[in-house]
């Protein structure tokens, strides 16, 4: 028997089926917590928002229409839950240095190799060095692999602005990676 899809699970949940909702939670909880941890001020805030998000999803399961992916739907709910708590991480202020500057920081013109690419710990540390907006777009677009249109909508920006943010975030990630491995 194949796995019921998210839409079906949410439909059953909206009719009061807790078992169906539990399967939905199992499928998405790790991704939701990852996004929240990347934006919350601390672990406790991330956990509060995690709980609020799934409570809201349980109560609002009937509002899922199956247009965008269910992953995007629950991540949006989680993001809003965190926003309401008003305790987002105080990220490094977003600076807008020229792209060339970013390119040089990321190693343009350097004739070397990158170390540590296969080490999760190194990649995680580089991610932690980014500003919140950059980390968020990388989580949604690269790690969750959500469609660009969905990500733009979640962030409340145009697709073009999302792509430009993603490009800067990738450059900054590469710069951070070099900083981590040059130490």
């Amino acid at each position: 028997m194949s796995e019921p899809d998210d839409r079906r699970l949410l439909l059953e949940a909206s009719l009061g089926d807790r078992g169906a909702f539990e399967r939905f939670v199992q499928r998405h909880e790790a991704a939701v917590f990852r996004l929240l941890r990347s934006s919350a001020a601390d672990e406790a805030d991330a956990e509060d928002a995690l709980q609020e998000a799934f409570v809201a999803a349980w109560k609002g399961a009937g509002s899922y229409r199956g247009g965008a992916s269910a992953r995007g739907w629950i991540l949006t709910i989680a993001r809003n839950a965190l926003r309401r708590s008003r305790r987002r991480r105080v990220g490094e202020p977003s600076t807008f240095e020229p792209l060339e500057e970013l390119g040089l920081q990321a190693g343009w013109g350097r004739d070397d190799t990158l170390e540590g690419l296969a080490r999760r710990q190194v990649l995680d540390r580089a991610m932690q060095m980014l500003g919140e907006e950059e980390r968020e777009v990388l989580v949604l677009r690269e790690l969750e692999d959500l469609p660009g249109e969905d990500v733009a909508e979640m962030l409340g920006i145009t697709v073009a602005a999302m792509k430009s943010r993603l490009h800067r975030a990738r450059l900054r990630f590469l710069a951070a990676l070099r900083e981590v491995t040059d130490e």
């Binding site: 909702f21 539990e22 939670v25 909880e29 790790a30 991704a31 917590f33 990852r34 956990e47 995690l50 709980q51 799934f54 409570v55 349980w58 109560k59 792209l99 060339e100 390119g103 990321a106 190693g107 343009w108 013109g109 350097r110 004739d111 190799t113 990158l114 690419l117 296969a118 080490r119 999760r120 990649l123 995680d124 991610m127 990388l138 690269e142 790690l143 692999d145 792509k163 993603l166 490009h167 990738r170 450059l171 990630f173 590469l174 990676l177």
Partner: protein
């Protein structure tokens, strides 16, 4: 004038730097992509940088795409909260 102002195959390095994500994500027109291809063939620095850039993006996608499983205590407290509603 910086090194990035160097023009190779009709396009400057700084322009290539700007378009790198669009190039990798397949968002460019065929003609634009071909101009970048030509540049990369003749410009060692952009070719090298483009390689590191796409390696870093690929590593991010492959190594981190699976979120770590939830801490069992966090998972337990989530269930406890959900059973209250």
């Amino acid at each position: 004038m910086s090194d990035l102002d160097r023009e190779v195959a009709g396009i400057r390095c700084r322009e290539v730097l700007k378009l790198l994500s669009s190039y990798l994500d397949g968002d460019l027109t065929e003609a634009e992509a071909r101009r970048i291809d030509d540049h990369l063939r003749e410009c060692d620095r952009c070719e090298h940088f483009g390689g590191r850039f796409s390696e870093a993006v690929a590593a991010l996608r492959h190594e981190l795409s699976r979120a770590a499983p939830l801490d069992p205590e966090v998972a337990r407290r989530l269930r406890a909260r959900l059973s209250d509603v």
